[in-house]
């Protein structure tokens, strides 16, 4: 996927300017800064307070607190095993933390199940791609529209009328997402047959189909080469720009994190060791000692 050609089809000219063909993320930094400062970050939309999580004897998270502001891109970084995925799983209702609370737009919860969190406008992608292997790309993304589907069993069985109209309307929305992610050619392909990088796009598409206000991305760039990472960065920035979606992002690639995120939280062994802008975090002695340099 040529970044330049893709840049032409992108609807956001400012973003196209940040990713000219062949440049590395570092060189695009000044332009990216200009884009970021044009984004207004709003009030706190997600507030994590004193979360502690353990499995049996293993303490995965110890007293973690941080906040996420609306419209920002917040990165969570840390060495392997630091508890980043567990943190995301807590936010999204997959794990129930033993202590602490999470507030979403003012509503506080500690024990909420995944479906309730989904209804509150939080979507996520998975580190290990929890796609529905038996279905096509189109169907996978359509499942993301599930919360918007209203027809009952009888209407669906008859299909003619309300159910057909609803399917078509939702199809239209999903096709928009497919266009955005540039996977039109693959829409009927069974997901299991697609290359890894494209599967990650489908995972993102399914999350986007939920029209989330907060999007949790669990290592969206894992296993990708430089070009694929550029594409994915572009998609993430586009989502943030066009839809104003707040993004919480776990990522290992430091250049990506420093480039696209507004603020960063650093975890190590389940504890928070850094919280601030990328520059602040990069200069922090605790973070440096935990990491001993960057990773690519």
């Amino acid at each position: 996927m040529n970044a330049a050609a893709a840049g032409v089809t992108s609807t956001d000219a400012a973003v196209a300017a940040t990713h000219p063909a062949g440049t590395t993320a570092a060189a695009a930094q000044p332009a990216a800064e200009a884009v970021r400062s044009s984004r207004r970050t709003g009030d706190v939309v997600l507030d994590v307070r004193n979360i502690s999580l353990s499995f049996g004897g293993v303490k995965a998270l110890t007293d973690i607190s941080f906040d996420v502001r609306e419209h920002e891109i917040r990165a969570i970084i840390g060495p392997n095993g630091a508890g980043k995925s567990s943190m995301l799983n807590c936010i999204n209702g997959v794990y129930q933390p033993q202590h602490g609370s999470i507030s979403l737009r003012g509503k506080t919860f500690r024990h909420m199940n995944s479906r309730q969190v989904a209804e509150m406008g939080v979507a996520r992608t998975f580190q290990n791609l929890a796609l529905f292997k038996g279905m096509s790309v189109l169907d996978n993304i359509m499942t993301g529209r599930n919360l918007k589907m209203r027809t009952n069993l009888l209407q669906q069985a008859i299909r003619w009328g309300a159910a057909e109209r609803e399917e078509t309307a939702q199809r239209r929305v999903v096709e928009g997402i497919i266009d955005f992610l540039e996977i039109q050619a693959y829409r009927k392909t069974p997901v299991g047959k697609m290359p890894y990088g494209l599967q990650k796009r489908v995972d993102l598409g399914r999350a986007l189909a939920m029209e989330p206000q907060v999007l949790l991305l669990d290592e969206p760039m894992a296993g990708m080469n430089v070009e694929e990472k550029q594409d994915m960065s572009r998609f993430i920035l586009d989502v943030n720009d066009e839809f104003g979606t707040t993004i919480v992002l776990i990522e290992h690639d430091m250049s990506v994190v420093m480039d696209i995120s507004d603020r960063v939280v650093v975890l190590d062994y389940g504890k928070k060791i850094g919280d601030g802008t990328p520059d602040e975090v990069r200069a922090s002695p605790e973070v440096i000692s935990a990491y001993l340099g960057t990773s690519h």
Binding site: V94, F126, A130
Partner: protein
């Protein structure tokens, strides 16, 4: 009190037979994660083999010593079960290695039908007798305590002793021999076992063979008591609730589960049955298992199943 104890003993004896079959299940599940629906069919197949071999040997070799005939028949039947185990590993399990539980379960369902069909095609489908010299007469015990004593079937007693001996033998095998150690390693963690050089294929053939021999013993005992016939595999299906109760991964669980189900069935039939119209034995075990599944799916002694994302 007397009749109650008799029913209790009767239930314990039947339960022992269920336990023997359940033992085979647990062995295979522990070592390979496969739920062997075909265990009952293996019992039938093994019993048929034993019965017919014991018939054919004197006919074709003229050896008429019952003990030798039965011994040779047993060995031959055991060897046959090893061959079956090897075939199952080679043709079925080896090719379904990374499939999910449902697929493997359905594969063993297919094996069930194949074994039932081929067993009867090879060995015939009449009712056959297995006569290994078990005493058929009952004995009265505790005549001092209870009027007339309690009626116990000597055959059942012998069966219980044999079953206990088998369990002890298996326990020794698992704890003391190198192969037994390897089996326990595989049961714990396939990948770790593989990484230290344990050949999974061979282990699985061994496990299925052991399960096959256990099935043979169960088939012989049961066949000696009831005669070898097709319905044996259906009765053997009862072992499923046994492992649910006892826990799929626990050998003591299989024993205790079997005894509980055997006793429960007999007692419920006598005391609950008349109120419900009789014949509740066919579903009692399953409904009990269902109740357990809702309350404690891992059974009495099994490991808790955790679903991780």
């Amino acid at each position: 009190m007397g009749p109650f104890l008799e029913t209790l003993f009767g239930g314990l004896m039947v339960g022992m037979l269920y336990s023997l079959i359940a033992l085979g299940f647990v062995l295979i599940y522990k070592a390979s994660g496969v739920f062997n629906f075909a265990q009952g069919a293996m019992v039938l197949f093994a019993a048929l083999a034993m019965a017919r071999f014991a018939e054919w040997i004197p006919k074709y070799t003229g050896l008429n010593n019952k003990f030798i005939d039965n011994a040779i028949a047993f060995v031959l039947a055991a060897l046959l079960m090893v061959v079956v185990a090897w075939l199952i590993q080679k043709l079925v399990l080896g090719r379904l290695v990374n499939q999910d539980g449902i697929t493997l379960l359905m594969a063993t369902l297919g094996i069930t039908y194949f074994l039932e069909g081929s067993g009867q095609a090879l060995f015939g489908n009449d009712i056959y007798k297995i006569d290994i010299g078990m005493p058929k007469d009952p004995v009265f015990i505790l005549e001092k305590t209870f009027q007339g004593g309690l009626l116990i079937n000597k055959e059942d007693l012998y069966a219980a002793v044999i079953a206990a001996a088998l369990v002890a033998l298996l326990a020794l095998f698992f704890q003391k021999t190198a192969t037994g150690r390897a089996l326990r390693a595989v049961a714990d963690d396939h990948q770790a076992a593989q990484s230290i050089g344990i050949p999974l294929d061979r282990i699985w053939v061994i496990v299925w063979s052991v399960a096959g021999v256990v099935a043979l013993v169960a088939g012989v005992i049961w066949g000696s008591k009831l005669g070898v016939q097709f319905s044996l595999s259906l009765v053997a299906l009862k072992a499923l609730p046994v492992v649910i109760l006892g826990g799929l991964t626990s050998i003591p669980g299989a024993i205790i589960g079997g005894l509980l189900i055997g006793v429960g069935e007999k007692l419920s039939e006598i005391y609950l049955g008349p109120h419900l119209g009789g014949g509740i034995e066919i579903w009692f075990a399953y409904v009990l298992a269902l109740a357990f599944l809702l309350v404690r799916p891992q059974g009495l002694f099994g490991e808790k199943i955790i679903d991780r994302v």
